[in-house]
Symmetry: D2
Subunit: 100 residues, 4 copies
């Protein structure tokens, strides 16, 4: 099994063991991604990247994990393959920003 | 090679071909994750999940991809292994929310 | 009439003339504030404050206005007096961060 | 003096008494608005507006205050008149969404 699918399965097992899917409609998952993204951003508030990494490395790691967890939940629930949607977006970006 | 590493390599090749890493300090990557998270959220503004998926499925997919792309860039730049940080966070969450 | 109440009345007249209050439940207004906050943030993506103001002054002004418009709608709908809630929060902040 | 100017003066006195303006460049103020907007949004996570107001009314009020405080700081620092920028945006919106 791919490691990506393994991670997604682990995330799904976690929420199913707690019967949490009842809350996880796509709109609230999108809300959650924004909430966690802002918690990550808070680790950089008022300071530059270098100082943020010195001061908050551990929390930065946790908040990126939270963003990824909710994003992967949403992909799983909408039947989106992470590799496919990333490749499609990179292809679209390549047309918008061709290599000179 | 794992599919996750393949995706990360593709993202890094994309930005290196355009010499974009000069802009990609961690603070601005965190900002970018928040920006894309809000663009995803906009697909659900004023409407419920069901109608959002009917109306904006294609854009939702693109915005999730954008959130993932910037998140994976940040993991790559901070030398964070996606599987490790997700597992650590799930373990921490399991202590906070034990299965009854 | 206070200028603050004048601004709020103008915002309310705008949405009532278009019968938009039907969409403006508090949760979607909170979502909208986040969306506009991110659009403001986008004016500063990759660049420092000085360059952002040179490049995007007009749009920055519009996005701050959007954040304020949705925030004042929410205050109006929840019967919150702007002066009161700001004073209360400053008082709370003063206890957390006393002047040395 | 207008009540709006009174509120802005109080906010400025607060940060000047603590010598905080050194941190308040426009980019970090924009970041702060996003952070507080997400903390407001968190009061509505997983639940509908009605239950959010029952459960979190006090915190909702504080987070709206935080969004307003940072927004008014930014207006003050960029010499933007709140009434003017709101009126301009409503005028622009009126062209985009004319009353039928």
């Amino acid at each position: 099994m791919s490691d990506l699918q393994e991670i997604i399965n682990r995330i799904n097992d976690f929420r199913d063991a707690r019967d949490w899917r009842q809350y996880h409609n796509p709109k609230d998952l999108a809300i959650s991604i924004s909430i966690e993204a802002a918690e990550l951003l808070e680790d950089f508030q008022w300071i530059n990247s270098e100082n943020a990494l010195k001061k908050n490395k551990e929390n930065i790691q946790e908040e990126i994990a939270d963003v990824l967890i909710y994003s992967l939940m949403l992909c799983s629930d909408l039947d989106l393959d992470v590799k496919d949607i990333v490749n499609e977006k990179l292809k679209k970006n390549a047309q918008k920003y061709p290599v000179k």
